[in-house]
Symmetry: C2
Amino acid sequence: MLALSDTCTAAITGRGGLCACLNATLLGRLRAVAGDVRLEAGEVLFAAGSPADALYGVRHGAVMLCSWVGQERRQILSFHFSGDMVGFAAGPNHHATAIALGRASLCRIPEAEMDQDGALRGHVMGIVQRNLAQSLDMQVRLGRMSAAERVRALLVELHGRLGGGHELHLPMRIAEMADYLGLRPETVSREMSALRHDGIVGVFSPDGMLPILRPEAL
Amino acid sequence: MLALSDTCTAAITGRGGLCACLNATLLGRLRAVAGDVRLEAGEVLFAAGSPADALYGVRHGAVMLCSWVGQERRQILSFHFSGDMVGFAAGPNHHATAIALGRASLCRIPEAEMDQDGALRGHVMGIVQRNLAQSLDMQVRLGRMSAAERVRALLVELHGRLGGGHELHLPMRIAEMADYLGLRPETVSREMSALRHDGIVGVFSPDGMLPILRPEAL
DNA sequence: CGATACATTGAGGAGGGTCAATCCGGGTGG
DNA sequence: CCACCCGGATTGACCCTCCTCAATGTATCG
């Protein structure tokens, strides 16, 4: 259980994950040191302030990175799905809290492993840069887009990251979408209703399924 | 002019800049390959879509990273002052435009140089991670803070980054602060007036000087 | 079948956007 | 030396988007 499972390799190899493009030697080294983490919905992977001593690769499920202003106002900084990495920190400690959105399994790569391998570092560098680009995108949405535009942008993003098609399985609730988009749940719900009335999406079923009737209209 | 000047070294060594903590050998190598860029106010360092083939270190002056929604709505993603680095991109091309806020001078380090040195790469990695943390902070501000809180947060940030004291030299106009904070210039001006009425700051003179009367009250 | 959790919808209010007038300092030209 | 102008900051009045609060609907679970 301490080695990267085959399913992990399959999952993490896709879409620019950590293990993609690594040669057999490196992959073997990683398998040898990677730990295994399993979380239930709502469980904390790491908390803000805790030591940042490992990177995590999402095998199955989804994880979100959260930050709080006071005790009440939550901002979700990012969603991480199968194949994504979480756990980067600028300093010795995490500045945000990572929480599982549903049942999730991840592999854990100790920080120390990074220091020993140049190719690995370079690879991780690319991932961090993509995370940065993603965060800058969010700055634009939060700073300059209307509620309707933000909801559409989220659906476009998730449609792309979760593999397109005419049905989208959203692993989060309306409340999480709202806290990601800097809106209230009621506002997100209203915008979703508007998209439904325009025939762009279908009904958002409680199990997270959202039919995308006209993907191009998003 | 193609070597890092002493003033550059002095500037970039501070506060986690690129050259800080590099040993003499590395610093020498960098001096040998670093180019020199001088910009007037409003000039473009690089544009969105142009090839990302170099990193830049700000010697003097200030640079901002901008993104546009349509042709009208501008979002300023970050400000970069003396000692900061700009130019990271997730792909082969820039996703945003870098513009000088006033007269600025920078050193230019070709991308190719990165690939040849592990220590250099590791150093740059730390800088990218700090940029990411900064961007995530902005997500929180833009998503969950009121206009008053955003303006105060900006002043706290600039007060810290521009070297504290009881007077702050802001290299940008109200319009740029607004586009950074996701607000309108009128709103920023109103909040600054409120801070002035509360005796926390003084009058914002046209040359960019802002007295900070009670730094602790921010 | 009630209880709970969440989505949805409605009504009303507030924060910040929009538009416009005024102010203010600096540069220019007579 | 002064009048004029120009760009940007400031302030006011009004309005709109989104928030707030509350009621209702709906699916899941004990």
